[in-house]
Amino acid sequence: MAATAAVTERTSEPPKLRIIPRVREIVACREILANLVRKELKVKYTASVLGAVWSLLNPVVFLAVFTFVTVVLGNNIPSFPVFLLSGLLAWNLFSVALGLGARSVVDNANLVKKVSFPREILPLSTVGVSLVDFALQSSVLLLFMLVTGFGFRASSLLLYPLAFVDLVVFTVAMVLWISALNVRYRDIQHLTGLALLVWFWLTPIVYPGALVQAKLTSFHGFDAWNVFLLNPLADIVFGFQRALYATVSPNGRAVLPPVSTAWLAGLLLAVLCASLLLLSLTWRLFFRMSGDFAEEL
């Protein structure tokens, strides 16, 4: 029986990450991942009467409030709810995954000490949870856009999948890094909360990107706009806004940065490359550190 079975070796060598076999290992354990995501969602919503409706309610209330604000108080940005949510939902995916993910290994110390499985599954499961939330909330937004007659523009909608892939890859890369570091230094989870707060305001979600571009292009004679674009979340949010909100300057108001779709696609591709590079670094780090998780916890 086992004579032909694969031989597995455990040595003192710090493991070297070989991506393809590792991906295969994680795929083999996809049941654990699926079950952990299911568990998180169940735990989040059991004993609440409305269950997953809470997840939907969040963007619904946002839409209602901002529609009300726009209608009653007036706003510089036409269709502000769509503008806001197209960026905010992407941000939520990132920040929820990172906030939960920072603690994912530490909170599951018991599992890490007693069960052998690819540790990546723990941070990945938090990304899974935030993806489910993202899907639910996005469906509310899309429905809103259809019902209110805001509609879609096919040419810019093509940016959506690219922006989405960017977002997921970058999020996974960050979550792997943060969750591994948090095992050694518990400060990281507190730091993450603060960093996310600052990061949110560095990202053009509630304010229009065009405004930033106008202010920063010649910032004391220095082109700070390009520096601003180094924030991958800003680029990704631009992508989502361009894909959904689509109109660059509705009614002559500057909302989205006036760049061509092709240029934005190029930017997103660059972000994708950078994110993949970051992923390979943080994954390696996570993998190297994960061998000692059981001892450090």
């Binding site: 086992a2 031989v7 597995t8 455990r10 049941e31 079950n35 735990v43 050694r184 061998g291 000692d292």
Partner: protein
């Protein structure tokens, strides 16, 4: 036959921090020199053959669990290699990943996936798991409403339905009531019949003798003995005696003390092995530190797997100075092996324990002819017409 598991000079060093720096500040302030090395495993090597059941025994802190974790891939060895063939499942904890908010059914699927069962596998054995745990009526309740006994049964039920080539079990057999334990043991025997390899860590030495083909004893992280379970279990007891005779549990108020205990053979020797059929005298000297009126002396003989094979008690009554009690065991009918003797002095009225020495003494029974019965029973046969 090829080895299912090869453990090759495995060592494991843990860094012991007096207080582990787990924040940046602490890490910056404290130097790494404050960490002390602790050798949990030192150059341990052995093989486990395919289809074999190996018992891993040792005192607390001898490195058994660490070794199991190294084999399972939960901790990395400091040096050495472990090689194994096939799929491994490690039962280091029952119900790993159980979440109180989930129902019994959901937890079964979650826990099963950690043990390497796919959803489809779990679907197939689900009924059997529930039946084994005897929880048919509770599977849709959240496990936070389960009693601890129910949780343990459910955890074990999932664990015994795993389907690996190699099974690592850490001390999880000792759960539930007697009938459930018997069921678990039956399941283990089933695994053995299916030709699976088992490594079992346990303190229940009789389990090792009943279940395992071979045993390995670890002592302070080093391989101390390896061989037939009965020999290794015996070695564990000797190690206990050698290390610190005072360690052997002694209890009692010492109002009356055991001043001397001897196991005397027929010829007066107190050393040589006892032959089957010989007499053996257990001689206790009691010294009263305070006069008592209701002294009772007792003894118990246990075999190396901890089963009692003989006992007796004798009322002494009042004692003021010293008294000697002899228990003569006539024509010892025991099979060859090692036997351990517990002796005690207590109050006959109140049951108050004056002095007990638990398995402090031992003797060996030998027999030239080979013999296989567990006990020597005299049998009368008769035939009648019906």
């Amino acid at each position: 036959m090829p080895a299912a598991i090869e453990v090759e000079s495995i060592s494991k060093v843990f860094k012991l921090f007096r207080e582990k720096p787990s924040s940046l500040k602490a890490r910056l302030i404290s130097s790494r020199s404050r960490a002390e090395d602790f050798w949990a495993l030192k150059d341990v090597s052995f093989d486990v053959r395919e289809g074999e059941s190996l018992g891993l025994i040792g005192h607390n802190g001898s490195g058994k669990t660490t070794l199991l974790k190294v084999i399972a891939g939960i901790v990395r060895p400091t040096s050495g290699v472990v090689r194994y063939r096939g799929r491994i499942a490690a039962l280091l904890e029952l119900g790993a990943g159980f979440h109180p908010e989930l129902t019994g059914r959901e937890n079964v699927y979650l826990n099963a996936s950690f043990l390497g069962l796919s959803r489809k596998d779990t679907d197939r054995v689900y009924g059997s798991i529930v039946g084994f745990a005897e929880l048919e009526d509770f599977m849709d309740n959240q496990v936070k409403f389960y009693s601890s006994g129910m949780l343990v049964r459910l955890g074990f039920a999932v664990a015994v339905h795993v389907d690996p080539d190699i099974l690592l079990i850490d001390e999880v057999l000792a759960v539930g009531d007697e009938s459930f334990q018997a069921k678990c043991l039956g399941k283990i025997r089933g695994f053995q019949k299916e030709g699976r390899t088992i490594v079992l860590v346990t303190h229940a030495l009789d389990t090792v003798r009943q279940v395992c083909d071979r045993a390995v004893m670890l002592d302070r992280g080093e391989l101390h003995a390896e061989g037939a379970p009965i020999d290794v279990v015996r070695e564990l007891r000797y190690a206990l005696l050698r290390r610190d005779p005072g360690f052997v549990p002694e209890e009692g108020t010492k109002e009356v003390e055991l001043s001397s205990v001897e196991l005397i053979r027929e010829d007066g020797s107190v050393e040589r092995p006892v032959r089957v059929g010989e007499d053996l005298t257990i001689q206790l000297d009691a010294r009263a530190n305070r006069p008592v009126t209701d002294l009772v002396a007792s003894f118990q003989v246990l075999d190396s797997a901890n089963f009692p094979v003989a006992d007796g008690r004798e009322p002494i009554g009042a004692i003021e100075g010293k008294k000697r009690v002899r228990f003569a065991l006539r024509h010892i009918p025991l099979v060859p092996g090692h036997y351990f003797v517990t002796v005690g002095l207590a109050s006959g009225e109140s049951g108050r324990v004056y002095h007990v020495q638990t398995q402090r003494y031992w003797f060996e029974v030998v027999d030239e002819e080979g013999r296989h019965e567990a006990v020597e029973l005299s049998v009368d046969a008769s035939v009648e017409d019906l």
